[in-house]
C-alpha cells in the first residue's frame, strides 16, 4: 500500500487476475516457495513429545491429584475432619465423616479426625479451593495428572490412597525453569 499524495488516496497492488497467464507464473513461483517452506519444516524435525515415555515436567504450582499429609515428627494426620474443604468444594466431590480421637486411638493432631475422607476424582475440577480452605495444610494439590481408570468407582480416592506416596512420580520443574 503506497500513498498517492495528489489524489489523497492509496495505491493497492493486486495480484494478477485468476486464470490468466500472469497468475500461472505467480502460482508456480508461490508453489516453489511453498515447497521450500514445507522442506524447512522437514529439516527442523519433529517437535512431538513422545508422551508415555517422555513427559513434560509440571510447574510446582500445577494443581494435580490431591495429597493428604501427616506430621513428619509424630506421624499423626494433619486433617482434623473439619469439613471446610467439603464446604469450599464447588464440585461437591469431597466427603468427610469425622470421629473423636480417644487417648488409646489417636489418629490426628486435633480433637477429631477424618474417619472417612473421600474425593471423587471424576467430579473434581482441580480448582484448589480445598487447599485454600484447609486451616491445617492437611490437603494440598499434588503434581499427578495421570488419573485415567477403567471404572468410575475406582476414581473415588479414599483417605489411605490420598495419604500414600504416589506410585509414579510426575516430573517436576524447578522454580523459574
Amino acid at each position: 500500500m503506497t500513498p498517492v499524495p495528489e489524489h489523497d488516496s492509496y495505491f493497492i497492488e493486486r495480484g494478477p487476475e485468476p486464470g490468466g497467464a500472469g497468475s500461472v507464473g505467480r502460482a508456480f513461483g508461490e508453489t516453489l516457495r511453498g515447497l521450500k517452506t514445507t522442506f524447512g519444516r522437514l529439516v527442523e524435525g519433529p517437535t512431538t513429545v513422545q508422551y508415555p515415555e517422555e513427559k513434560i515436567p509440571v510447574y510446582p504450582r500445577f494443581r494435580g491429584r490431591h495429597r493428604l499429609h501427616r506430621f513428619e515428627d509424630t506421624g499423626l494426620e494433619k486433617c482434623v475432619g473439619c469439613s471446610l474443604c467439603a464446604a469450599a468444594c464447588p464440585a461437591d466431590c469431597i466427603r468427610v465423616v469425622a470421629a473423636e480421637n480417644t487417648p488409646d486411638h489417636r489418629v490426628s493432631g486435633g480433637e477429631r479426625f477424618a474417619a472417612v475422607y473421600e474425593i471423587n476424582m471424576s467430579r473434581c475440577i482441580f480448582c484448589g479451593y480445598c487447599e485454600i480452605a484447609c486451616p491445617f495444610d492437611a490437603i494440598t494439590m499434588g503434581n499427578d495428572f495421570e488419573l485415567a481408570d477403567y471404572n468410575r468407582s475406582d476414581l473415588i480416592f479414599t483417605k489411605e490412597m490420598l495419604l500414600a506416596e504416589p506410585l509414579e512420580r510426575t516430573p517436576l520443574r524447578a522454580e523459574g525453569e
Binding site: 515447497l35 522437514l42 527442523e44 519433529p46 517437535t47
Partner: protein
C-alpha cells in the same frame, strides 16, 4: 527404431515383444505382481512418515521398528472388518468396482521396465512384465479402466457423496488424461517408438528426456497427480467436503482395495515417469552398470517420485473445482499441444 527381440506375439492389444518361453513369463508375471503389491505398503508408509515430518510430527512409530509394520497392521485390520454394504447400493457393481480399480493398477505395473534383458541360469529374461508395442497407450487405457472402478463405485454406492465423487472423477479424467497423453507425444516422436523398453534404450545413448522434454515432464507430473487423485487435485476424494467421494460407503476389503489401488496408481505413475523421463534403469555416468541393478535403480527413482508427490501434498491446498477445470483445459492442454508441436518441428527439421 526396431526391437532387438527375435520372438514376437501379435495379440489383439498390439505387438508384444518377448524373449522368454511361456513358463518364464508366468513366473515373471507373478513376481512383478508381488513387487507391485509390496510397493503399496511401502508407499503408504513413506507417505505417512514423510507427511508427519513435513508437519513437525513423527508419523506412525509404534507398530514395529520406526512404525514400519503400521501399513501391514492396517491392512489386516481392514480385511478383518465386516463387509458392510448400504441398502441403497446397487447390484454386483458395488463389489466389482474395487476389483476393477486394483486389477487396472496392477496390470499397468506389468509394462514398467524394471531392467534390461539379463541371463538368469542360462535363460534370457527381460526384467519387465511385458514389452508391448503400445506402451503408453496401454497405460492410459488401463488408467481409464481404473476410473471405471471409481465411477462405478460411486454410482453403485447409492449415496450422494459417492455420486458426487464419481462425477468429479469422471470430469477430472477427461480434463487431465488428454494433457497427460500429449505430454508423452514429444518423447514418442523423438524416440520413434511406443515401446517403453525402446524409450529407455534411447535414453541410454541420449540425454534423459526430462531435459530436452522439460515442459512435457512437468505437464506429465502435474497431470499424473490429477490422474492419481493426489493433492492438490484430490477433490475426487476431498475428505473435508464430500467425506471420501466414491469411497464413502466402502469399508473393510472394498475400502482396502480402493486404498491400495490409489497408492499403486501413484507408484505406477512415478514408475512411468521414471521410465519415460528419467531414463528408467540407466545410471548417469556409469555405462557399464550390471543389469541386475536395474530394478533397484527403477524402484529408487520411482520412490523419489512418491516422495515428491508427498511433498506436494504437504504443501499445496486443494484446488477448487473450476480452478481444476480451467487449469487443465486452459493451461495444461495448450501447453502440451504446443510442446508436441515444437517437438514435431524440431524432429522433422533435424
Amino acid at each position: 527404431m526396431t526391437s532387438t527381440f527375435q520372438l514376437t506375439h501379435v495379440l489383439p492389444t498390439g505387438v508384444v515383444f518377448a524373449v522368454e518361453p511361456w513358463w518364464v513369463q508366468i513366473i515373471k508375471g507373478v513376481i512383478i505382481a508381488l513387487i507391485g503389491f509390496t510397493l503399496i505398503p511401502a508407499a503408504v508408509t513413506i507417505e505417512r512418515k514423510l507427511l508427519g515430518r513435513f508437519q513437525h510430527r513423527y508419523g506412525p512409530n509404534r507398530a514395529g521398528p520406526y512404525g514400519t509394520l503400521q501399513a501391514g497392521a492396517d491392512i489386516l485390520k481392514l480385511l478383518g472388518k465386516e463387509n458392510f454394504r448400504p441398502s441403497t447400493s446397487g447390484g454386483f457393481l458395488f463389489y466389482l468396482a474395487p476389483m476393477l480399480a486394483v486389477i487396472a493398477a496392477v496390470a499397468t505395473f506389468a509394462i514398467v521396465p524394471l531392467g534390461d534383458v539379463v541371463t538368469i541360469f542360462g535363460q534370457k529374461v527381460g526384467l519387465y512384465g511385458l514389452d508391448v508395442g503400445i506402451g503408453p497407450l496401454y497405460a492410459f487405457a488401463l488408467g481409464s479402466i481404473a476410473f471405471y472402478g471409481l465411477v462405478l463405485g460411486g454410482f453403485a454406492s447409492g449415496s450422494k457423496y459417492s455420486y458426487l465423487g464419481a462425477m468429479r472423477a469422471a470430469a477430472q479424467l477427461i480434463s487431465y488424461e488428454v494433457a497427460m497423453g500429449l505430454a508423452l507425444v514429444g518423447v514418442i516422436m523423438q524416440t520413434g517408438s511406443l515401446s517403453l523398453v525402446d524409450i529407455v534404450h534411447y535414453q541410454q545413448t541420449h540425454l534423459w528426456f526430462c531435459i530436452p522434454q522439460a515442459v512435457g515432464f512437468l505437464i506429465f507430473v502435474i497431470a499424473s497427480m490429477a490422474e492419481t487423485n493426489r493433492a492438490p487435485f484430490d477433490l475426487v476424494e476431498a475428505d473435508s467436503e464430500i467425506v471420501a467421494g466414491y469411497m464413502t460407503e466402502y469399508g473393510g476389503g472394498g475400502f482396502a482395495s480402493f486404498y491400495a489401488a490409489e497408492y499403486l496408481n501413484m507408484v505406477v505413475a512415478g514408475a512411468i515417469a521414471t521410465t519415460v523421463f528419467l531414463g528408467g534403469w540407466t545410471i548417469p555416468f556409469w555405462d557399464g552398470a550390471p543389469p541386475v541393478l536395474g530394478p533397484f535403480v527403477v524402484l529408487i527413482k520411482t520412490m523419489l517420485f512418491v516422495v515428491f508427490f508427498v511433498w506436494i501434498r504437504a504443501t499445496l491446498p486443494r484446488l477448487r473445482y473450476d480452478q481444476l477445470m480451467s487449469f487443465g483445459w486452459k493451461i495444461l492442454l495448450p501447453l502440451a499441444t504446443l510442446n508436441a508441436l515444437v517437438t514435431a518441428i524440431v524432429v522433422v527439421a533435424s
